[in-house]
Amino acid sequence: MNPPLVKVRVRGAEADLHDPAPAAHIETLKIDVEHLSFFYGEKRALEDISIQIRPNVVTAFIGPSGCGKSTFLRTLNRMNDIIPGARVEGRVCVDGQDIYRPGVDVVAVRRKVGMVFQKSNPFPKSIFENIAYGLRINKLTSNRSEMAARVEESLHQAALWDEVKDRLHESALALSGGQQQRLCIARALAVRPDILLMDEPASALDPIATQRIEELIYQLKAKFTIVIVTHNMQQAARVSDFTAFFWLGRLVEFERTDKMFTAPSEKLTEDYLTGRFG
């Protein structure tokens, strides 16, 4: 048995970038994961993962298929709860609060930590109703005009407003794939989360739609903390500030993106980035 691959701590990343604070103190961390392990029944899918994510940065999770990056992403808003036999050990703190502590309201967690899925999943309702759904179920608006304003705001944020403003009450399923995915982003933004988790949001899209999503991610980071899973290393390099490399359920390296893609500290990362496996 090899020694643990690495214990990763963010060092180079603590300085500069967009955060005026010179060091990432606990209070300024958006997500703080400590010794997280995840099990599907007996099978351990994630092993002892610790990672610290600051607000308003984009973090990309990369790694070969089945490395656990999506599973890890889904532990951040407890989406894995719905899988029978799933079990979590360790802590996941969002804004200093452990979301796996007993008594935590999962609904509140998911509202705060929004999610966009690999395959766009608009509800079979109108464009308007798709965005309004989260507002309705969480009773976030008190009247119709407020709701309409929130819907418009969300569509603007997702750079979709101009394309759909004249057909808000038509079916969301009539939109193109790229538009549907931006609709799903708008839908997630409507409930005003702090964090946006994106699970390969552009993997089913053509290059132009992908580019739009990437531009969008870049704009959104001013307001949100974004974690994106991608199997596309170029995409990780383009959109993210930090990159985490997963391999066999472990976090091998977590580093500033520019540094990771130029001088990774782990041999394994380098091998993966240079295409020697994966």
């Binding site: 029978p84 609904v107 509202r111 509800f123 079979p124 989260g134």
Partner: protein, 285 residues
Amino acid sequence: MTASDTARARKVLSALFVGACALCVVLALVPLAFVLFFVVSQGVQSLNVDFFTHNPRPVGEPGGGMANAIVGTLMLTGLAAAMAVPIGILSGVYLAEYRGSRFASAVRFAADTLNGVPSIVIGVFAYAIVVLPFRHFSTLAGGFALGVMMIPIIARTTEELLLLVPNALREGALALGATRARAVFTVIVPAALPGIITGVVLALARIAGETAPLLFTSFNNRFFSTSLSQPISSITVQVFTYAISPYEDWHRQAWAGALVLVSIVLVCSMAARYAAARVASIRGR
């Protein structure tokens, strides 16, 4: 055998099978065509305004109609639907949501068994449970018997349709902060709604044609009644009564009754298809 021989043999075999399939389709449709042909050709002659507006005349007196039976059938199926649609759909939701649980498996098995129970047995059951305590036949008892027949059909159809809804929709709703129940009733059930509507109407069409469960529950009534606690006439029981009678005029009325019943079922099915298509088109599918 040469290669071209093999190819020819394959072609012949293929043509043979396609031909056999086509033949079977035709054979399957022949009875349906004959039933429709007879019902329409025999029924049309006896259909007139009186048939819809008058009640049966006393024995031996020609004329009269089935107004009471038409209203009766509508009331009976309406009652059955009022009972079975909510129970059936909610059970279907339960079966789909807790499909792995032992209780759900038991319920599923029970529903399938109930589905296969002969309708006359359901009638006996309704007789014991509703007719005996009240000491007389009633619309309520008939509606109950038909409702019992509808529940398993609707429950299983609903379950099947809910399982077809992509899991991604559920995850999308949960990720927005929906509770499980919320996700089911605001996203998953609406997504399956066109199919559920069709399923409900097919169940209605099926029970509208039932006679056996009504024979000793709602019984029959020669007079016009809308009372829930009194016996009520229904098209099927009336057709049965008339068809086994020795009177020529009643035979003709039985054909007319059969035609009306088939038409009601047809109209309901078309209305349901239209409704389902409307619901689906609003969502752009």
